[in-house]
Amino acid sequence: MPETPKHEGGRPPVQVDNVETVLLTDLTARVQAAHEQGLRFVTATCLDAGDDYELYYHFAHGAALSHLHVRVKKGTPVPSISGIYMCAFLVENEIKELFGVPITDIVIDYKGHLLLTDGGPTTPMLKRQSPTSS
């Protein structure tokens, strides 16, 4: 199927509701605040945006969702939130492993072996594979 130019349709792109973009430096404090409000941590999402990573942290309060959005340069260490939400350890390991985001101090760190095995691909979710990966 031939690729068509982006955003060509008449409609503007749909946006996620209830997103707040924050600075990396504020991230921990904001997550802490969410924790104190009793929000349930849903998950985190990572996107490979060229030179940057985009990270979403999804929270739920009852049925309502809210999201924190962070943009970081590739290579910048991202602090783990698993110290605040223990249950984030799985998704953080996954992001670290599949995207190569340097997340520091995960409570249970699988060191890149949560899902992937030696001899297989590394950081497979990146759009453009780094030359070291197989």
Partner: protein, 661 residues
Amino acid sequence: MGELAWLGRLNVGGLAGVLILAPVLTGLVVFLVRTKWSRKGIVTGTGWILSLGALALFGFGAVRRDTVSFMPPQIPGISWDAVVTGLDLLLIVGFVAIGFLLRRPIVAALAVLQAGLVLWVELSHSVRLEHPPLYVDWLAIIMVMIVSVIGSIVAVYGLPYMKEHEKHLGIPDTASKRPRFFLTILIFLGAMNGLVLSDNLLWLFFFWEVTTLCSFLLIRHDETADAEANAFRALWINMAGGVLFAGGLVVLSHAVGAVSIQRIVESRASVVTNPIALVGLGLLCVAGFTKAAQMPFHSWLLGAMVAPTPVSALLHSSTMVKAGVYLIARLAPAFHDTAMSDMIAVAGGFTFAAAALLAIGQTNAKKVLAYSTISNLGLIIACAGLNSPLSMAAAVMLIIFHAISKALLFMAAGVVEHGIWSRDIEDMQGLVSRMPLTTLTMVIGILSMLLPPFGVLIAKLAAIEASVRMPAALLLLVVGSTLTVMFWTKWTGRLLTADPSVVFPRIEHLHSMYFVPLLMLTIGALGFSLMVVPLLTQLIVPAVAQYYRSVQSDVTTLVQFDNVLGVPWALVFGVLALAVLWPLLYFRGPRTQRTGVYLCGEQVETAATTTFRTAAETAVPVTIRGHYFERAVGETVHARWMMTVSIAALVLMLGAAFLQR
């Protein structure tokens, strides 16, 4: 037996003298002549002397076919009675001295108490001392054989052991305490022989206290704070037992007017109707309880574990604790068919079950062995309390088989300890691939303690069968034997847990002085079990018959077809041996593929085969800890009620003396 008739003419007094005094003398030589070779030679030589002496005594008994009361060799100008009394007092002075030296006034106090009671007996006119003080019957012969043969084996095994022990502790040869050690051991053996050959309770008391002293010295041998504390505990508990013994003597000498066991047994008719006399016997039995480390007195034997292993082997198998059960068994005909006898059975049965329960929670191999000893002695005492020909046959069998197996086990445990420098059962996991030979002996030792067709179990079955007429004891025995199976099985399981990677284990090198004693006892355990029927008919039945002569019991029913002793045990042995052999031959060679264990598919093939891959792709070895159920059967969990119950049992036992049947 024509050619052996000369045995019957042996001077039994002289023989007894050799059995009692030879080790003392050779011990002194070892102490004084401090060369390596002389020590080896003399200890081994003494072993031979004792064993041959015991064998000669056996021959004597076999030819004579009757009991003999006899005097020690007459030496003009010497009254042996006076000598024994003198030595006894000397011993008590020694205890007082120890009490002062160690600043343990209680020891001195107990010693003084003992002296007073003994003098009371000596000086009271009612006591007739003309009865020969020594006595040989089958029971005595069996005991002498055990003490002399097994004791000697342990002593010989102690030679290399103590050498390594001192090396381990970093004691230079010049400061070696081994001469003193072997002196004590040998005196111990002599005293035990004296103890079982004595008929006069005053003599018996003397030897009794010598064993107390020797065990104290042996437990204290390493002179660490721990050793001191535990030695002191052993000392005061046993001396307290001694006080009870002496107290019992006082009562008996007044009530029966005799201090000869034979006299007392012969006057059973008047004893069982006289509560005071029964209390006297009861006190002696309680003394036996202390020495046999029965609850509530068992703590000293557990503490004695700090001593080097040969000491444990000695204390548990052939000496010391056996003195306790021996005394009770010896006196049993005197209180045959009394309520007190029943209570003794219950008290013994209680210790049997309770100690087995506590053994389940122990990780320390020597402690398990200790609890097992306590438990088995409880069983023997229960048998004595059941006081029937069958139960007594069981008791005698237990004394024999337990001595062999326990000596074997302790010695094997000692070798293991020197192999892995640990006493922890958990550290023994997979020992079979590290020390196959020792493990084999150990496993045989363990299995011989709990499974058919080994002697201990046959005896245990006989004991259960004998206990049917006493439901309380029966229940305790059933419960106890089930618990026994549990802790032994768990331990054996640890030993046999092999890493599948080791296909043909290297046989470890064993010092010949380790190997030969182990081998002898292993053969003993197997051989005697194999020959349990002849052993029974030729030795134990006559012994029991002799024993219950005064009670007029029918012992011929003992070996009949429908009782445990009528099973063709040799045949069973053969069938089982076959079942062991064919798979060894069948599952061999290239036909059988050796595989790794099932680890849910994540077994790491290249490394040791019990490693698995796990989180973060790390390889982790499987570790499996045995279950000890500490929360259910830990010592502390049960300490209080067990103490209470066992003390109550003893009180009831003495109280039962006043219950006329």
